[in-house]
Symmetry: C2
Subunit: 246 residues, 2 copies
């Protein structure tokens, strides 16, 4: 039995999310089906994070165990051949130690959220960014975002369906940068609550439009009350960028 | 009668190209149909460039004449509302002088070509970049590209269907830059021949893979012979970025 670590890129638009679902296609199922077609084994694929429906992956990490003798390069090529026409691609595949776990060994997760400020609908980027038909004050958003960095109870920014044992997380980075009519939000932490990035970005969007001040964001955080969330940003603009391991 | 200048963004994937065709959808037709639905007039939309099937627009310029009294902002909003669900959006709309012509007044056209170097298939970028499953030498490509800059007979880099009166054009810029596994080619000129950017990029791709040396590119240019073209790059990676006017 060999454990293989994968780096996976995917377009989240056609999927119900990373995790296997009864009621629709998932990235996990696409990869597991491809592996089954190649090796004839039912392998379970574990990921660093279980992204929501419509959320994308640029460098998701995952692992699976395979009994059959196959090299990592051949496995990657075969998976990519079988994954078509799904918009899922294995960018890298390496054999790892049996105790390497894509989820539990992960030291840090990095997300990027893409916002486009304009009135006109999106074209080639539809489903790949959050369009806000207003000018956003990126400096005000970045300043407010720093109130969320550090160790906090993020109950306000947590989905009602979140399965995490604790709402307390340490947010290492939440940066807002602008380039023309585009804003990028970079978020890094050891781990995130369900919907945490989208919920933080949604509230920063309110700050950027002047509907919230930084103090409103701080009050929402301190309330530890989901009902105080200003806005949950759509999945469209969210990309799982990278996971770090020892 | 008022002449309106439009800035148009579009995803070229579902279209037969910019120009109206009998046998399939075009960007021009999408905009003309939207204008007809709004104002009840058959307006002809003229563009700075007629991009091929599968080529995208980030900032295409175009114009149309409208007899009915309508302001530019209202026209833009109405066009965008009617253009759905086509991946075409009007980013800007201004009233211009009657002798302003999107094609004939244009002083310079700027294209960008996106290349991704990797073995794995593209996912969310499928149709939006040219994937080359090899490492490319961007520095060699950029150096070779400079042989094409200036005033030349570009017959080798011209489609057999090109309608331009002369194959002699002045290429002002052809830059190749790299960021990670991505290469960007920027091309600027007053005007281009049909397929010129794709043909130049295709040959630069050969240079980047070491299949051609810079001297092969120079020989191909000097041959003034379409049969000497190394490769025509696919439309996927090509974006019309901007047009300049007095």
């Amino acid at each position: 039995m060999t454990r293989f670590a994968l780096t996976v890129e995917y377009d989240g638009r056609p999927f119900m999310g990373w995790q296997r679902q009864d009621h629709g296609p998932s990235v996990q199922q696409a990869i597991e089906d491809a592996a089954f077609a190649i090796i004839g084994e039912k392998a379970v694929v574990h990921a660093a994070g279980r992204t929501d429906a419509g959320v994308h992956g640029l460098g998701m990490r995952a692992h699976l165990d395979i009994a059959r003798d196959i090299g990592p390069f051949r496995l990657m090529e075969a998976l990519n051949a079988r994954l078509r026409p799904h918009p899922v691609a294995v960018l890298d595949c390496v054999a790892v130690a049996d105790d390497w776990h894509a989820r539990f060994s992960c030291l840090a997760r990095h997300y990027e959220y893409r916002i486009v400020c304009r009135r006109a609908p999106l074209t080639w980027e539809k489903g790949l960014a959050w369009r806000i038909p207003a000018e956003l004050d990126a400096a005000a958003m970045h300043a407010a975002a720093q109130l969320l960095v550090g160790r906090h109870d993020f109950t306000t920014f947590r989905s009602a369906h979140c399965q995490s044992a604790s709402p307390v997380k340490t947010l290492d980075r939440l940066d807002v940068t602008r380039e023309g009519d585009r804003l990028l939000v970079h978020a890094s932490a050891r781990s995130f609550l369900h919907h945490q990035v989208r919920s933080m970005v949604g509230c920063l969007g309110l700050v950027g439009q002047g509907k919230w001040r930084a103090a409103d964001l701080r009050d929402a955080l301190e309330a530890r009350d989901r009902a105080r969330l200003g806005l949950n940003a759509p999945p469209d603009g969210l990309f799982f960028v990278r996971a770090d391991y020892p």
